[in-house]
Symmetry: C2
Subunit: 224 residues, 2 copies
């Protein structure tokens, strides 16, 4: 595939399989979730959020290219935070608190659904076992995240006014951060998935990642 | 074991098995290595140096404790460097150049011995597959590194004057850095290896790591 065809194949996977079309997500954006459903989503999605640094560290661990590791490292810091900057995991905990959940309960994984745990663990395991350029490609759902985040932020402000504005820092920060991150990840994917076999596996990796996110919502939707 | 007994057991392993007693190391410090032997050591030890961030990323990937990950992350940066700071891998490449080696050849692994590769890969694999507190304990050879680095620096200045002082940045920086790092790692080991079973595995992990470093020098010594 040329770079253009490769990029088109990646985009087609996201347009078809990204979780913005999941019924639970459609109901969320339409303002149709009950407070309990919102909280269930927040608690379960937290398991995904807290696992991201472990996924990114697995990519680092598999990558022998120092320059790539240097470019990828900030993702761990973005989520774990560092002195003077709270990071995405802490921001998500404040979203949970804004939704009326207890911080300790969220950290203890109360209400975490097996299907969510299986899907997220599969994602971390994928990053551990696949070649690092393929694992990088699996993160390309970020290409579709900024639009989704912007819509989600508008939907929460419009429909879930019982959640305070201060809880939305995570959504706000990801609109721009996901744009930068997906640009980086796309550049690395185009550069390092440089054989037909790796290109094919990159497209499959993105499909797999879409399945992970979709399965999360399946489990959350069916827990009613 | 009490903390005191546990610490004593760890120290005993290092005093007995750390590579400062290896014949090749004794000859190095006595000024008895030929320039070719020094270069062979530098090229092969580079494979260890460049693998350290992958080992530390494996520990991060296995660790669900955000605070621990935040404390451990700087090790990756210390070796890989970041904008405006070259890092340990680059410093080692300058040592190699100071010894008359070509940078490209070192990066391509020319002269890398199979026994060295096996030992280093075993170390990275250990960090990937063992519980993270046990993998942390394996890094405790750092407790013995500052003295060794100080002696090595003095030996190089005294006996290998064909290597310019500017090549010794790595040795210099590690004297203090290893002291800080080993303090951190020891604190984590005492805190998180909190069962008899984990304590036993921590002591074994340190013995294993001593074996890794010892095997490196065996392979280098026998390649003559």
């Amino acid at each position: 595939m040329t770079s253009e065809d490769f990029l088109a194949a990646l985009r087609a996977v996201g347009e078809q399989g990204y979780h913005h079309r999941h019924p639970f997500h459609v109901r969320m954006n339409a303002g149709e979730l009950t407070p309990d459903e919102v909280r269930r989503w927040v608690v379960n999605r937290f398991y995904y959020q807290r696992s991201i640094p472990r996924k990114d560290a697995a990519i680092l661990s598999n990558c022998p290219e120092r320059e790539v590791r240097r470019a990828w490292l900030h993702r761990i810091v973005d989520h774990d935070g560092h002195e003077g900057s709270e990071g995405g995991i802490e921001a998500w905990l404040r979203l949970a608190e804004g939704c009326g959940l207890k911080r300790a309960a969220v950290l203890a994984g109360e209400g975490l659904l097996p299907g969510v745990q299986f899907a997220v663990d599969a994602y971390v395991n994928f990053a551990r076992t696949e070649p690092w350029p393929v694992a990088v490609a699996s993160s390309l759902t970020e290409m579709f995240a900024p639009d989704l985040m912007a819509e989600r932020l508008a939907a929460f402000r419009a429909h879930y006014q019982w959640v305070p504005e201060s809880a939305f820092d995570y959504f706000r920060s990801r609109v721009t951060q996901a744009r930068v991150d997906s640009g980086e990840a796309l550049g690395l994917t185009l550069r390092w998935c440089d054989t037909p076999e790796l290109q094919r596996r990159a497209v499959e990796a993105l499909r797999f990642k879409c399945d992970v996110l979709w399965s999360l919502l399946d489990a959350i939707d069916h827990a009613a």
